[in-house]
């Protein structure tokens, strides 16, 4: 088995005394897989991602990240391997300047300041945002914030990237730029999005979640061209696939 992998076996999740959000999910991904996670609103995409980093712990079944079980005692280990990009960049970025925010994780992991600086520069170069290094977060546009959000997790040098709606509120140019950056990252990626065109451009595999279950799991091109499957699960064909 490869070094970098995610294994979920029969995982179900419900908020306290609530209805189950996810039911009997079995999912595996490894190495440089790029997986699109799609589904209608409330399907459980964000819950799925949050379970992988231990933000939702009261699940049943088993989740393992690189053989480490996701449980309260292993969260520090798990989280050092996974980078999570929030849907709302304003929640992700909480420091004053870009440098401080991107340096937050490496500093917390106790790296010496020289290494922190190296990591920050590397992450900013990977996202093409080196020119924003000293900029203050509140002065940045939505597109810039999204790229910096990605840089904040790349500076952790994670094995796995989880992204929740990365293209939300981006203009076409920033969206294209994001796609370019996502394709250049050779990590195991799971991208949850309603933007099916983005999934088509960045993921070779797609998992469709509907009513808490995996309704389909396969090559992106097959799933995103299956109009009947998509419509049955509250979705539509990607814009680029529609005729007329």
């Amino acid at each position: 088995m490869s070094h970098i992998h995610i294994d979920m076996e029969n995982v179900s999740f419900a908020y306290e005394k609530g209805e189950e959000i996810l039911r009997q999910i079995t999912f595996h991904a490894s190495e440089t897989d790029s997986v699109g996670l799609i589904g209608a609103n409330g399907a459980g995409k964000s819950t799925f991602l949050k379970m992988l980093v231990g933000l939702n712990l009261n699940f049943t079944g088993s989740i393992r990240i690189e053989e480490i079980p996701v449980q309260s005692g292993t969260l520090a280990q798990i989280r050092s391997r996974i980078g999570y990009v929030f849907q709302d960049s304003d929640s992700q970025l909480f420091m004053n300047t870009v440098y401080e925010d991107v340096a937050f994780a490496p500093r917390n992991y106790g790296l010496p300041e020289k290494e922190v600086e190296k990591r920050v520069e590397q992450a900013l170069r990977m996202t093409g945002t080196m020119h924003l290094k000293e900029k203050q977060i509140y002065k940045m546009s939505g597109g810039e914030k999204k790229l910096i959000s990605i840089a904040t997790i790349l500076s952790m040098t994670p094995d796995i990237l989880l992204m929740d709606e990365p293209s939300i509120a981006l203009d076409p140019k920033n969206r294209r730029n994001l796609i370019h950056i996502l394709n250049s990252l050779e990590h195991l990626k799971i991208i949850a999005s309603h933007d099916l065109d983005l999934i088509l451009d960045t993921c070779e595999r797609t998992v469709l979640i509907s009513q808490g279950r995996i309704a389909a799991d396969g090559p992106t091109k097959e799933i995103l061209t299956d109009q009947v499957l998509l419509e049955e699960n509250g979705l539509e064909l990607p814009l680029c696939m529609r005729k007329g």
């Binding site: 980093v53 933000l55 520090a76 989280r79 050092s80 996974i82 980078g83 999570y84 929030f86 709302d88 304003d90 929640s91 992700q92 909480f94 420091m95 004053n96 300047t97 401080e100 937050f104 994780a105 500093r107 917390n108 992991y109 106790g110 010496p112 300041e113 020289k114 203050q136 509140y138 904040t152 997790i153 952790m156």
Partner: protein, 279 residues
């Protein structure tokens, strides 16, 4: 107050004051993150100096205006070294300084005896009012200069070095972070309300309850997301901050010793009067 118009509506909607408050917070962060020499001084040194300065200032006798006047040298020097605008700072302290000045306003009426100042008889009440105002203004300016040259994260680091309990420091830091979150939510809710109620001057009292509830829920949600984002990037109750500069360096120590010597000198003798007597 800035104005903007809403298409299709003749009413003018006032931009919220909350937006201005958020900008003020961001402005202070801009100042503290600059590359000025004073900004680079170790936060522990600046914090301890500020505390000692304030203690020295408030320790002056209530009629010792001349002795106290010498202590103006510290804020003046830091203003120059940090290249901060004095007028701009006064503008930002416009709500605090009048309050400070109000503290001693009754002294001239309560203390009517006369004391000698440089051989001239002066009303003791006026003198004690002046020293009170000076003490207040100097203390406020010193605190302002501290936060204008030191980010809150660095200040918290300094507090940690002083063995202030970690939980208290973290609480302080997160409260500061969440003030912005709370203000942003208040701003969003207020704007959304005013844009749909352009004829109203403020928020109608009938809507207060639901808006307050919304504000609480939304702020909690956002605060939780910010906290989750911190957790996911290795946060374990301690900012891994400035490890390389854990201890003040040689330059920091020189800065500290210099100002301690100045404070001791100005506290021990009324330098202003001595200089005045020479000329």
């Amino acid at each position: 107050m800035e104005l903007f118009s809403v298409s299709g509506l003749s009413e003018r909607v006032y931009m919220s004051k909350i937006g201005g408050t958020i900008r003020e917070i961001h402005y202070m962060e801009t100042l503290s993150s600059r590359d000025q020499w004073v900004n680079q001084i170790h936060p522990l040194v600046k914090f301890v100096l500020t505390v000692i300065y304030i203690l020295a200032v408030v320790s002056f006798y209530k009629y010792d205006v001349a002795g106290l006047a010498g202590f103006a040298v510290y804020p003046l020097a830091v203003f120059i070294l940090a290249e901060l605008s004095f007028l701009d700072s006064l503008k930002r302290l416009r709500f605090v300084l009048p309050l400070v000045c109000l503290v001693g306003i009754l002294n001239p009426f309560l203390d009517k005896q006369e004391v000698m100042l440089a051989g001239v008889p002066v009303s003791a009440g006026v003198l004690s009012m002046t020293t009170l105002i000076m003490k207040g203004v100097f203390s406020v300016l010193a605190s302002y200069l501290l936060i204008a040259t030191t980010s809150l994260e660095k200040l918290c680091y300094a507090l940690g070095m002083l063995h202030i309990p970690r939980a208290a420091v973290t609480q302080f830091l997160l409260t500061y972070r969440y003030i912005t979150v709370l203000l942003e939510e208040v701003d969003r809710i207020t704007q959304a309300y005013l844009l749909r109620a352009p004829r109203q001057k403020g928020i109608h009292f009938k809507a207060w309850g639901s808006l307050a509830g919304q504000l609480l829920l939304r702020s909690l949600d956002r605060a939780n997301e910010v906290y989750e984002s911190m957790l996911l990037r290795g946060y374990q109750g301690d900012y891994g901050y400035m490890r390389e500069h854990a201890v003040p360096g040689r330059q920091d120590r020189r800065y500290f010793i210099f100002w301690m010597a100045v404070f001791a000198l100005f506290r021990a003798c009324p330098v202003i009067l001595v200089i005045g007597s020479i000329f």
